[in-house]
């Protein structure tokens, strides 16, 4: 069946370093969503990308949707301890929404 793979599974960074997580789908997506889950919390919607090649920014976060609409990335510039959590992508192929396995980010001060 359709899969959405996310790498890396874990990432430990020093505060101030950059961080990137990648999301790859086995099929073309109509859109992709990103969610953040703080430790002990629930996933919270961050953003949705719809267009091929789309790039969106939220402060230090940059989201990209690939030209073929099969991959996406989330890049955080100059991480802060408040960025700690698990980041999930979720691919929508109009049939269902499939979550990636998530990337757990740990930021050391």
């Amino acid at each position: 069946g359709q899969q959405v793979m996310q790498i890396p599974q874990y990432q430990h960074v020093q505060e101030g370093e950059d961080f990137t997580t990648y999301c790859n789908s086995s099929t073309t997506l109509s859109n992709i969503q990103w969610y953040k889950q703080r430790p002990g919390g629930h996933p919270v919607f961050l953003i949705q990308l719809v267009k091929s090649g789309e790039v969106k920014k939220q402060k230090r976060l940059t989201f990209q949707f690939g030209e073929a609409k099969k991959n996406s990335s989330l890049h955080i510039t100059a991480t802060q301890t408040t960025d700690v959590g698990t980041y999930f992508c979720a691919g929508d192929n109009t049939d269902k929404l499939i979550f990636g396995t998530g990337t757990r980010l740990q930021v050391f001060p």
Binding site: N31, H42, F99
Partner: protein
Amino acid sequence: DVKVTQSSRYLVKRTGEKVFLECVQDMDHENMFWYRQDPGLGLRLIYFSYDVKMKEKGDIPEGYSVSREKKERFSLILESASTNQTSMYLCASSLAEGPWGGNTIYFGEGSWLTVV
């Protein structure tokens, strides 16, 4: 703001018990979902519903059933709990134009279930 409320935050049940997890949303959303979250496996869809009394199997429906008698309420039922059902269960809801409208999913706080 959308509110998705799960009735129990932490539960401990014995093997073989019947378990009910309740979820209520207050935004008149058509779609409701039950996921389970396990380390290294991400979020896996158990069941979803896009209308009252309608339900569809997700990726891992075995050992679970659901009930949606009212639009705002979606219940997950473990007919006979087993230890491999120890997990965090997340309820969610979204608007829809059809089953999947590319709309934001709003999650509840989660229910931590331990089966001993």
